[in-house]
Symmetry: C2
Subunit: 556 residues, 2 copies
Amino acid sequence: MNLTDQEIARASTMRPINQIAQKLQIDEDELRPYGKYVAKLPLRLIDESKMIGKKLILVTAITPTVAGEGKTTASIGLCEGLNKIGIKTAVVLREPSLGPVFGMKGGAAGGGYSQVLPMESINLHFTGDFAAIEKSHNLLAALLDNHIHQGNTLNIDARKIVWKRVMDMNERALRDIVTGLGGAAQGIPRESGFDITAASEVMAALCLAKDLVDLKEKLGNIIVAYTYDNQPVYARELKAQGAMTALLKHTIMPNLVQTIEGNPAIIHGGPFANIAQGSNSIIATRMGLSLADYVVTEAGFASDLGGEKFLDLKCQYGGLKPDLAVIVTTIRALKSHAGVKFEALKEPNAEAVKVGLENLEKHIENIKHFMLCPVVAINKFYTDTDEEIDIVLKRCEALGVKAAISEGWEKGGEGCIDLAKVVKEVAESGKSNFTPLYNFDWPIEQKIETVARKIYGAAEVEYSLKAKQQIRLFNKIGLDKVPICIAKTQYSLSDDPKLINRPKGFTIKIREFDIAAGAGFIIPIAGTIMRMPGLPSKPAAENIDIGADGNITGLF
Amino acid sequence: MNLTDQEIARASTMRPINQIAQKLQIDEDELRPYGKYVAKLPLRLIDESKMIGKKLILVTAITPTVAGEGKTTASIGLCEGLNKIGIKTAVVLREPSLGPVFGMKGGAAGGGYSQVLPMESINLHFTGDFAAIEKSHNLLAALLDNHIHQGNTLNIDARKIVWKRVMDMNERALRDIVTGLGGAAQGIPRESGFDITAASEVMAALCLAKDLVDLKEKLGNIIVAYTYDNQPVYARELKAQGAMTALLKHTIMPNLVQTIEGNPAIIHGGPFANIAQGSNSIIATRMGLSLADYVVTEAGFASDLGGEKFLDLKCQYGGLKPDLAVIVTTIRALKSHAGVKFEALKEPNAEAVKVGLENLEKHIENIKHFMLCPVVAINKFYTDTDEEIDIVLKRCEALGVKAAISEGWEKGGEGCIDLAKVVKEVAESGKSNFTPLYNFDWPIEQKIETVARKIYGAAEVEYSLKAKQQIRLFNKIGLDKVPICIAKTQYSLSDDPKLINRPKGFTIKIREFDIAAGAGFIIPIAGTIMRMPGLPSKPAAENIDIGADGNITGLF
């Protein structure tokens, strides 16, 4: 009854990966295997003509709380449920980062009876994608420092280097460092730092690229620094993009694994959902749509972050047209939005549920802003009362929104049949008519204000002096006709993590911009953002072990 | 005629890896594939009973010069030649580091018609072993800094941290850094740095480990720092070894690939040959001996560095008994040792060859010190004259040492049949009676002086005050009964890189010691050593590219 995710995973019988491939009509010869249960898929499996009429289901959530929502678990469960009712469905997800695995959160391969397998491989190294992205990113950093050390013919101002290094680790001690100490043979001393690999622009570029050639062009367009006369310096001027792309030769290929019930899962890329787009690669989504009839995919955090970026940034770049969005909620999280403390979440509290519903309602509205039909999935927890659940179902009904209970964690696909039926009904209804919120060629301020007002519910947007100067620069250097990727806290619809539930009348303050000229977007920064997490006082790594038999324990 | 290594590799037809496995009677089910041409091998294939009577051939070389010796190429060629004369032979090698690939040297998978394939995969990421070792190493660093940040209950003196971070990259700017800047939320400011991943103690430990349990114990025994009262702090006190070993679950398995002629090559681990043991894992060598009749293996640099460490450190830890040592030389390198400048090496110069032979003679003596029969392999270059080669052959004959020309680069196995026949004859003669130079339980000074006098040809050994203090410490904390791994320049038998050929009457100066308490050795440091290389003014990375077809170019 109280099995850990890892125990459930180990008790499951995995099928050889060629059997999973067969379900998608992929010939065994097309697979690039990594062990018996994982394979990379060649890009030639993407076929525009086969994508016609396929259904793309986005899974998003209400604003995150300490209670957790179980979005990945719900996505995997929905995939199982859809397959159970006879729809050939693939779930397409991000790859886990090692930071959370060794830090607070543990693994990221679903939970309970809705997991992707082999969970240990997926959580630890997988097919080496993160390591390759890290190496590609850091090669550019090494070439940059070396260029300056060797004579600096590009006239780079070392104080204006914007390319840091990355490491897939929670490493607070590397956030702010000074490099190049030790004398003339060791390069030039300067301030720098490390971000976590998920925050790398190489990760963002890979996940927005069409193919190797497009990726190489994106990597060449990365701005690494500015010259003494403030001209941007591009990666291509360091002749870096060829070797950087060569390092990603296999990384660009999506990874095929399986769910506990033996359905196909495609896992590829893992960009952050605050400073980057927060969802798996365009290549993986398009491949899923070429191979399956339904694709269930997930975007990071709630509809205001990963959801909005998926719909505005990724769908426009990838030519994707989602058919509906599932909004995952839990009763506990709704109570949390009403201000109930963590310890009291297990107590029945119908009034708190009613209050917290305001947050869910806002996310429903957000999805509707994209002319998409929302479906609410109530991720059931054993402490939920019928009364509490009924309140949510009734409110959804009143709003004309379909809702269903999702019990994927406890029951796998069997627990998601109701949700699957609702999703099928809404997807086939043709009522969605996906329309992004903005066009890339709108002025920068108009794009930001549209997202802030419509999606966050802000009353106003304020720009710092620096942000205003940067907007003028972007207009000048032609970096204005790209999508925006607003970085803000995930814990609030506003830019203040303390404003839970549905804050109103607030101002979004754009402090400054980061740029991802290679990946193809700019990052308005609202509030403080974290590009490199730290380990907690009791790191999860302390509990991870491996026995003589090679069995890994302590990986949740 | 003038094909690059990469063009030759691409023109070769690779066999599916299960066919290579068949040659070693490995069942396809035992393989953990990484694509179609690479597989990891389970440790259960090591079988002590099958190692009896097998022949282990060490390939070493004369002192390196700018001319190059082609030791890896000779090793692969010898494997091809032995297979051609009907002996089931596997070549067992180290994995390449990305540092040289992007820096000066290029790939490290052999050359010409003596290469291991697929060379692009082997040179770029391969099966992710270096990345996993890097992550395992850096996880320990993160846990260490986090421990201090979270309250430092172990009383670690942050000024006495000896555990740095690693990156598989030529990164001079990371040699000396200050981490933890930016205020109390970012840890504690302290001096630190990065080594290249090949220099990681995790790499050294992996390559000396018997199995997962032994590896975990070694990792737990790593000394990371000292307390304020100078007590060593071990990785196990940070509860790091479980997660560190879990990250290496697959990395501990050797990698099977193929030579151009379709013979088995086992490639595993890549520790430095100055501050570490400089040869592939014990696991890989023992597996090779369990599966093939002859194993050809290579150790880094010349007989005084990788050679000595292979014979004293690795063979004693691994219970290995080599049957002979091949000393690779080139006519050009001999002339170089006579002081001939690089540009003039192509000119015939019989007198210079005679002078440079002194270096070869010393390495022949060194091998004999281990009661091993040496075989000299003259790696032929097109500028070599018959007269020059004849001088070498005659000198060897006078010394009673078998010699043969090796033309593996130009002709593959066909060019190594003579060498193979000589190797077979000597190996089967039973004249070798391998005896290590020292026992682990000798006093530290005696071990150092034995290597310095017998192998380097030093007249004396001098210890700095610090080194003497450290020896006292090691005696006190029980770190004296371990092998030594002397770090010194590879360019001279002495500790002065300018003293080429066969210097005499010199003093070896032990400046200080590094320790690898987990891997199980101490490192007397003679002269300056480099644990993190830098990129040259024209990094090889600038020429590496990848096309729309996924073909990588510029990788030599």
